[in-house]
């Protein structure tokens, strides 16, 4: 089995939004974000539960990108929407269908080492893999690979905030990696 750092998915940010927004546009923008960065993409779950006061929607995305033959980056996105209703609004003089809902988006990340399980079959190889990750790769994992993945996942969160027109948006850390 491959090794993961951090061992469990680490949620780096939670965004909550309540109001009227274009969910279809947000969905497409985020999907494009992964596509532009050459991530493989898996929509693991799409749950739509119709309720009297408004539907409940849950979506899980797992996206991954192979950085080297040994390291794979994972970015996870979890959407949870409550009171999901279609509403019609007038924007720039035109009628448009949008969504009114309470929404939670969680962003998480993980790094997977030896994702092809090539260092798995003997105890010696497994030990060698451990030493390689813990000692030889340690600094690179902390300062290069981990940091880059951390800030790139943050950039996706920034893109979401910008799309939703949230007030707490700033581009100060955008040039990191």
């Amino acid at each position: 089995m491959s090794d993961f750092i951090p061992a469990k998915r680490e949620v780096i940010s939670r965004v909550r939004y309540k109001g009227v927004f274009d969910f279809e546009g947000l969905y497409k923008m985020m999907r494009e974000w992964f596509k532009d960065r050459e991530y493989e993409f898996w929509e693991k779950r799409f749950k739509h539960k119709v309720k009297a006061g408004g539907s409940e929607v849950e979506i899980n995305w797992d996206a991954w990108r192979d950085v080297t033959e040994f390291l794979r980056n994972w970015t996870y996105v979890y959407f949870h929407l409550w009171d999901y209703k279609e509403v019609e609004v007038v924007k720039d003089g035109q009628k448009k269908k949008m969504i009114y809902a309470r929404m939670l988006i969680e962003f998480a990340y993980q790094m997977e080492f030896d994702y092809e399980n090539k260092w798995q079959d003997t105890a010696f190889k497994r030990k060698l893999r451990d030493i390689y990750i813990k000692y030889a790769l340690k600094k690179d994992v902390e300062t290069i690979y981990g940091d880059k993945l951390w800030y790139n996942t943050n950039k996706l969160q920034q893109a979401v905030k910008l799309y939703l027109g949230m007030e707490s948006y700033s581009d100060v850390y955008d040039d990191m990696w």
């Binding site: 780096i12 940010s13 939004y17 949230m166 700033s170």
Partner: protein, 173 residues
């Protein structure tokens, strides 16, 4: 990248302020981010909530826990909690020009923490004892340096944010 090790978190300082009046929230948030970046803090925006109410006003609730690894042993962390309530767009006239600002109430809390042994290498009771004695008596000057840095950083951020909000003029009156 955030550390996935253990370590001991020690809290040293906590400051809070409340402001009600005119400001630009985008500028306020940007000033906070610029300050963190200038002081080499890594960004960790743990929670960011925004609720748009039917009357158009907004409620914002954010929690940031930026950190800075100063050595392999010491790490500074802050916990910044900001609640903005009744945020509304307003247009004011200044020097004959119209400016768009916001009116609302800000409640902010800033806490400063020092993590010692953040990679959790000294975890057993014996190791913990040796480490703590070493920190207190042998390495006390270095440990104090980072205690002071945590306190200075919180104070400086507090001063930066309150200066932006022109809170000193209210204090002087």
């Amino acid at each position: 990248m955030v550390s996935w090790g253990g370590g001991e978190k020690q809290k040293f300082v906590n400051k809070a302020f409340t402001f009600e009046g005119l400001f630009s929230y985008k500028d306020f948030f940007r000033i906070l981010d610029v300050w963190l970046r200038d002081k080499f803090y890594d960004k960790f925006e743990k929670r960011n909530e925004e609720f748009v109410k039917p009357d158009g006003s907004k409620q914002i609730d954010i929690e940031l826990t930026p950190w800075k690894k100063t050595t392999d042993y010491y790490k500074l962390t802050m916990k910044i909690e900001i609640i903005v309530s009744n945020l509304r767009e307003v247009e004011i006239e200044q020097d004959g020009r119209k400016i768009r600002l916001q009116r609302g109430k800000i409640d902010a809390k800033i806490g400063g923490y020092l993590y010692v042994d953040y990679e959790g290498r000294w975890a057993t009771p014996v190791q913990y004892f040796i480490r703590d004695i070493f920190d207190r008596y042998v390495n006390s000057r270095i440990t104090k340096k980072y205690y002071d840095m945590a306190i200075d950083d919180v104070t400086d951020l507090y001063n930066t944010l309150t200066s932006y909000l022109n809170m000193y003029q209210y204090k002087m009156a």
